[in-house]
Symmetry: C2
Subunit: 195 residues, 2 copies
């Protein structure tokens, strides 16, 4: 099999899907190669280790998440609070499945946070990336008089925690509709600090 | 080594500590036996599988959590909202360490939710157990006119999600003080639905 960029992309696609469906430690390099249809020698041509493949998969999923969830949810065509409702709605929609898999980023942080500082820090960066979108909407909400400007950063943290927890609870109950049910309260996190 | 109940308790203690410090799949039966000072034959005398030991460890941690966090936090000697502040304070205090390990229950739900329905359902029961404490305080808050009685159940779900997310974010940033910082917003989840 040629060492094409297609093989690299197939390995990333396999890692994305298999790790999200089970966990990082549950999937071996052999299984990743078999799923991607790539020889083990080729694997190490593209990636020095499983961790490096996981990091590439995280980057790929983050690009996907920005394009398919964050950009459409936080487009400024609707009022700030409606953007958060749209965000929870899109997250719920993408979690709909026979088996709710939860957040690919949150799952890795929970599984590997104490075991792999490099992966943990990459997930921290992803969470910071969510915060950028949240803070932009919160500043618009602040301009509209819905919260004080000085709590924007803390409120963004609270919303990252809340949506991660909502995804984890949905995974634990295997019920994605819970995410939309919990969207209403997300707005209280914003408006509880009315100036 | 005698097959004493001490050996069983040592296996549970090792599983509790090692799984919380790494993850379920990261710890083998051999490592659990070595850490507990128990022969492998004795392991299978007490537990048919690693899963059964993990379930016993979950039960043990839940007993500990009720006695050391939930009972003291939700004692009705202070007002309902102060109980939630006390809860977040105690959770933060027990997470203080060089490496923040996150919630032992949430970690397992994130790691194994799609892979082991038995463990997932046990964690769901634990989360329901937190809800029992939360709902009791929320009903007192409702009696005090702080929220409508008809949103007590939904608000309890929101608080379970929020504190789980706060623990996950604290683990991802390796910063337990974040949990106390996020306690303020937890109260907004309650009072956002003022009747």
């Amino acid at each position: 099999m040629p060492r094409t960029t297609t093989a690299r992309a197939q390995l990333i696609a396999s890692a994305t899907r298999l790790i999200h469906s089970s966990s990082y430690l549950a999937v071996s390099v052999d299984e990743l190669c078999a799923d991607a249809g790539v020889r083990k020698g080729s694997f190490y041509y593209f990636f020095p280790s499983k961790r490096e493949l996981a990091l590439a998969a995280i980057d790929e999923q983050w690009t996907w998440t920005r394009a398919n969830i964050l950009e459409p949810a936080f487009a400024p065509d609707v009022k700030p609070l409606e953007r958060f409702e749209r965000f929870f709605g899109l997250v719920a929609q993408h979690q709909q499945a026979d088996v709710v898999r939860g957040c690919p980023f949150g799952n890795l942080a929970a599984e590997l946070g104490t075991q792999d500082v490099v992966i943990r820090d990459r997930i921290r960066q992803v969470f910071d990336g969510y915060s950028v979108y949240f803070e932009r909407a919160l500043r618009d909400a602040s301009d509209a008089g819905l919260l004080s400007e000085d709590v924007v950063s803390r409120t963004a943290d609270a919303l990252v925690a809340y949506f991660q927890g909502a995804l984890l609870l949905a995974k634990t109950r295997n019920d994605a509709t819970l995410i939309e049910d919990l969207a209403v309260q997300a707005l209280h996190l914003v408006t509880g600090d009315k100036p």
